[in-house]
């Protein structure tokens, strides 16, 4: 097996909320002990509902946040402590595509300036060649070279996202964190952007961390998928197996909630509708994050955080599968 290009070990990202005169200091535990690996050239999908910490983790990986504890290793090097030039060098290799193509482009810069800027900052390519490189990048993402003098407001949402992707590619990155790159786009445009990302990966061999809440698209693009809930990764597995046979009760509930575009099967399908809502990540109790909503919660789920263990070639953090555990198939709700 190839060595992982990115390895996250027991990563915590906590934010302090300052206490006031009458309130205690509180801590938002956005990412609470996450470990994962991404191999070169593969796509790792990170799914979960809003507030589960998936974007925070993505931002920690590109060094926009500093982890409270734990390590993030990129090609064996711990990047959490990198500073100055080393950090700059790291950012050249690891780039990010943002969710909102309306907010992530400077409205006062032309397309050419937007795509050139990373090259100027990192002093990549001789000055004269940069213009040609911008044109080349525009073509890679399916825009016309004569769009170069235009401003972002002249483009539609899908086209803006393409400009964002071209800017990301300007530094020839090896790893891209895609933070919900399609959730702001229309259905027919989403498919265009997904295909574009897949083509780029095939051509350039880039690895992706693909963060999304749209589970059908994530399955389509990812090799491995991690399911996050309240700052914890509850299950990691190869995407097809994970969808066919989810192990963690949350994964089961989440997948069951995804509407399927087929009326006959939708009518026949047995659905698990999870009660309640995701609890607050402010000072969470030291127990299984999903215990409050889990249809199969046991007493011990409220006492301790279940460790992540290997089951059927997959990692699951659930007491149902622990100690001599029952066979996975016995527990499956479906």
């Amino acid at each position: 097996m190839t060595e992982p290009i990115l390895q996250v070990d027991n990563c915590h990202v906590w934010f302090d909320i300052k206490g006031g005169l009458f309130t205690k200091k509180q801590t938002v535990k956005a990412v609470n002990g996450v470990s994962l690996q991404v191999r070169a050239g593969e796509t790792f999908g990170l799914v979960g509902e809003s507030g589960c910490g998936k974007s925070t983790l993505g931002r920690a990986i590109v060094k926009l946040y500093r982890p409270t504890s734990g390590t993030i290793r990129y090609k064996r090097q711990d990047i959490t402590a990198l500073k100055g030039e080393q950090a700059q060098e790291y950012r050249k290799h690891v780039q990010m595509i943002f969710q909102d193509p309306y907010a992530s482009l400077d409205p006062r810069m032309t397309v050419s300036e937007i795509i050139r800027e990373p090259m100027d900052i990192h002093d990549l390519y001789p000055r004269r060649e940069r213009e040609a490189r911008v044109v080349e990048l525009l073509q890679t993402v399916g825009l016309k070279p004569d769009h170069i003098r235009r401003y972002p407001h002249e483009f539609s949402g899908g086209q803006r996202q393409r400009i964002g992707i071209a800017r990301t590619l300007a530094l020839d990155p090896e790893f891209i964190v895609c933070d919900e790159p399609i959730s702001a786009l229309d259905v027919s445009i989403q498919a265009q952007v997904i295909n574009l990302l897949e083509d780029i990966q095939k051509k350039l061999g880039i690895s992706y961390l693909f963060i999304a809440h749209d589970l059908s698209m994530v399955k389509h693009i990812s090799d491995h998928i991690g399911v996050m809930y309240l700052g914890h990764l509850v299950e990691i597995g190869p995407s097809r197996e994970l969808y066919r046979h989810p192990l963690h009760p949350y994964t089961q509930g989440l997948l069951s909630a995804v509407p399927i575009p087929d009326p006959k099967r939708a009518r026949e399908r047995h659905r698990i509708v999870l009660d309640g809502e995701i609890p607050t990540p402010i000072d969470p109790k030291p127990c299984c994050p999903f215990a409050t909503r889990c249809p199969k919660a046991m007493e011990k789920c409220f006492c301790a955080v279940p460790p992540s263990i290997q089951v059927d070639g997959r990692q699951v953090a659930c007491f149902l599968y622990q100690e001599g555990g029952r066979a996975a198939s016995e527990i499956n709700i479906k």
Binding site: V187, A191, N195, H213, G253, S256, A257, V258, I260
Partner: protein, 333 residues
């Protein structure tokens, strides 16, 4: 008898750049007790169609043509002597016979009023119930939409509720007067998947228990497949295809409908079939094309598509499509 009938509705907006023809000659009907899905991308005119029906267009929007019938009663602006009389009539209908559920529950709820006050408003406006009776009704509605400990929660303010709970409150408000027709404008778009499943289940239960009709506006084909009896597909301000859920999903006729279906993936299928996106982007409704709105993105476009809007081809009592490929007796697909 149809609960709602819309005939040749056209709505325009006056803007600095010119006239936006947001809805162009749209006709459809909703039968008693059915869920009609109105599917389209942003800017296809689906929300504007609903605002036109409800008489909730912003100041620069005008219904320029067409009629709207609720239970055979003409509710078009043109049927009334003046805008004022139309508005007076609509006041008695909105929230009473027709109610609306909006996409973003936070902007629809008033942040400075208690939930109780907001829930009682439609009841007091449209019925002769006393304050105490209306309060009791409000509490009953909170229970109906599944809000835990309603006695306590009804005294709270919107910011004390989560997104899913706020959407439940909006649904409770819509149900206040047992409407015949509920228009739900992307009711779950702002919600997470597991909360979306809860809200969709609730809408289904309500439809069954009240026998109300529902128009569900959405862009999510999965949601449509799961909840709708009939589907109308909108594109560029026009309805391009209508049919039962099975007809649309298993026998799509219009190239746009087929294109949309090619853009979604089935989370339960084992084969990872490639996505077939629709190239290009939707037309600019400032200068809508004279012919078929889908022309620029259609892989099978012909010369005639450029100049003339295709007529409706009827495949079954429920299935119609507007495409020139059908008119030539040729294969549409």
């Amino acid at each position: 008898m149809s609960v709602l009938r819309v005939e040749h509705l056209s709505t325009q907006f006056a803007t600095d750049q010119g006239t936006v023809q947001a809805v162009r000659d749209v006709s459809f009907s909703v039968e008693a007790g059915e869920v009609l899905g109105l599917v389209g991308e942003s800017g296809s005119g689906k929300s504007v169609t609903m605002f036109s029906i409800m008489g909730l267009l912003p100041g620069n929007g005008h219904v320029v043509d067409g009629r709207v019938f609720l239970n055979d009663e003409d509710l078009s602006v043109s049927a009334f002597g003046s805008e004022k009389e139309y508005e007076k009539k609509m006041q008695t209908i909105r929230g009473n016979q027709m109610a609306m559920i909006f996409q973003d529950p936070m902007t629809f709820l008033n942040p400075v009023l208690r939930i109780e006050t907001q829930l009682m408003e439609p009841i007091r406006n449209h019925t002769k119930l006393s304050r105490a009776e209306a309060a009791a009704r409000a509490l009953e509605l909170m229970e109906k939409v599944g809000i835990p400990s309603p006695e306590k929660r009804i005294k709270q303010y919107p910011h004390q509720f989560s997104g899913g709970m706020r959407q439940r409150i909006i649904i409770a408000m819509a149900l206040a007067c047992d409407p015949q027709l509920i228009i739900a404008d992307e009711p779950t778009t702002a919600l997470d998947v597991t909360i979306q499943a809860q809200v969709l289940e609730l809408i289904g239960q309500i439809k069954d228990s009240l026998r109300s009709s529902v128009i569900l506006i959405t862009h999510d084909l999965g949601v449509v497949a799961q909840t709708c009896d009939r589907i109308a597909i909108m594109y560029g301000g026009k309805i391009v295809e209508t049919g039962t859920a099975d007809e649309i999903f298993y026998m799509p006729n219009h190239p746009y409908t087929k294109g949309l279906l090619g853009c979604v993936t089935d989370p339960e299928s084992d084969t990872n079939e490639p996505l077939t996106p629709i190239p290009g982007s939707p037309p600019d409704l400032l200068k809508p094309p004279a012919g078929c709105p889908f022309l620029d993105r259609c892989t099978q476009a012909m010369n005639i598509c450029r100049d003339y809007m295709p007529g409706q081809t009827v495949f079954s009592p429920t299935h119609t499509s507007c495409c020139w490929l059908n008119a030539r007796g040729g294969e549409a697909g």
